[in-house]
């Protein structure tokens, strides 16, 4: 807890807070504790990386923050709202408007063009088709894909697909972007470009970015890094406290 308070920026608006989040998986008569009581606070506009070895619980924490999975105990607050108190319609609204998701596997809808993919969350949010298309076009231009808006995902490279996914995540001007291993399926340079783009969008739109990752390239641009080990937060560092040491990952 002390590491947290010293590392946290002062006097800023809270966007995510987890209190003692525990996640247990039952497998037969055994119980596996994937999260063993995680309490973290994230502030508006921060770029957070959740780092740790494979199986340490990054994705589990990430899913709890994103309202995708209910913790076994503990609480998750997004913008001061207790996620566990929300009904199905409110959760859907939260996922649609407050949070933008970026996936390791890109997850574009294969039957839709880039433009239609980016417009989809706006349409789910109740925006008129024409307005959604205009806005989708503008965001796609922002991620430098203005010339590929009518292509299907299968006609795009991995990096381009992830750009479309980023555009889609930003479609409804969310407060939080959640990215689980956004560079996991990309080569080094494409990964760098994607990280750079995420950082630029984070700065220019003031969006909070939370990313679970193995990717050490993320360290350079993160405001804070949460190091997770065996389901617990081992330490929280500000960027200037990080000494890049690949040994930490293994």
């Amino acid at each position: 807890m002390t590491a947290q308070t010293t590392a946290a920026p002062q006097g800023r608006e809270e966007i995510v807070r987890t209190i003692n989040v525990v996640k247990e998986y039952r497998m037969g008569d055994q119980t596996l504790q994937a999260l063993k009581g995680v309490s973290v606070t994230i502030y508006r506009g921060e770029y957070i990386s959740i780092m740790g070895p494979s199986g340490s619980g990054k994705s589990t924490l990430f899913n709890a923050i994103g309202g995708l999975d209910k913790p076994s105990s503990g609480k998750v607050f997004i913008d001061e709202v207790d996620v566990a108190q929300l009904d199905a319609l409110e959760l859907a609204w939260l996922r649609c408007r407050k949070i933008g998701y970026i996936f390791q596997t890109f997850n574009l809808i294969p039957v839709m063009t880039a433009l239609e993919n980016v417009a989809l969350p706006m349409i789910f949010g109740g925006m008129l088709e024409a307005d959604a298309r205009d806005k989708a076009k503008a965001i796609l231009e922002r991620v430098e894909l203005g010339h590929r808006i009518d292509n299907k995902p299968s006609q795009l490279s991995g990096g381009q697909q992830q750009r479309v996914a980023i555009a889609r995540a930003f479609a409804n001007d969310p407060a939080i972007i959640l990215a689980d291993e956004p560079t996991g399926n990309l080569d080094l340079n494409t990964g760098k470009a994607i990280i750079g783009l995420l950082k630029e969008m984070n700065r220019e739109r003031g969006v909070t970015v939370i990313s679970a990752t193995h990717d050490l390239k993320m360290l350079d641009i993160s405001d804070r890094i949460f190091w997770i080990r065996d389901g617990a937060v081992e330490k929280i560092q500000r960027r200037d406290e990080v000494t890049i040491d690949a040994g930490q990952m293994h």
Binding site: E80, W93, F103, L120, L128
Partner: protein, 216 residues
């Protein structure tokens, strides 16, 4: 546009999308996947063609026979129709059709876990996913049924000609045909809708977290 009303803190309720949106996405999805649906489509076409053909033959046969007898005082050989067996066969073919569609839809739902999970992450409601999959199979069912009916009518007419010579052609009582076709269309649509119920419900209940699953 209907605005969400109730707000908890800063959270509002997601809006319900109009049916036309589900129709649009279902059609898009079907167009692209038509190749894969062709087998299901063939099952429906065959079953509905069989149903229509048997039904119409049973109506045409007696009318044509009576007409031929009255005209030429010919003794027309009438094959013994075994209606019980036919009804049994038709029921069986419809059942096979139902199970086939259901199975194909279920596989399609399981294959598309990531797409469904992603849509939920983007704010799709359960009811929307339900509509999407129901509509997809109903469209498929209607398309297959219409083809089956056309085929069935042609087969029934051809059968009359084969059975009672070409003179039978002009004697076919077309009057009742539209009603039989309409009824067959209803049956075909009902069967596909029933077959899609469980898979669509499965899809609707899928958790958004399915979007994260990496393995297939």
């Amino acid at each position: 546009m209907n605005l969400p009303v109730k707000a908890v803190g800063q959270v509002q309720r997601q809006v319900q999308l109009p049916l036309s949106k589900a129709v649009e996405i279902a059609l898009k999805s079907m167009r692209v996947r038509l190749g894969r649906s062709i087998l299901t489509l063939i099952t429906i076409v065959m079953a509905m063609a069989f149903l229509t053909q048997v039904w119409l033959s049973n109506r045409f046969g007696p009318v044509i026979r009576t007409a031929l007898l009255a005209k030429a005082h010919l003794a027309v050989h009438e094959p013994v129709a075994d209606n019980g067996r036919l009804v049994w066969l038709i029921s069986l073919s419809l059942l096979v059709c139902l199970v086939g569609i259901s199975n194909a839809m279920l596989m399609s739902v399981m294959e598309r876990f990531r797409e469904i999970g992603t849509m939920k992450c983007l704010g799709a409601l359960d009811s929307f996913i339900l509509k999407l999959f129901l509509l997809e199979s109903i469209f498929l069912g209607v398309a297959g049924t219409v083809c089956g009916i056309v085929l069935g009518v042609a087969l029934a007419a051809a059968m009359m000609v084969v059975r009672y010579s070409t003179a039978a052609w002009s004697l076919i009582p077309w009057g009742g045909v539209p009603w039989v076709c309409l009824a067959a269309l209803g049956i075909g649509t009902a069967i596909t809708a029933a077959a899609a119920m469980y898979p669509a419900w499965k899809a609707a209940r899928m958790e958004p977290i399915a979007a994260m699953r990496v393995e297939v």
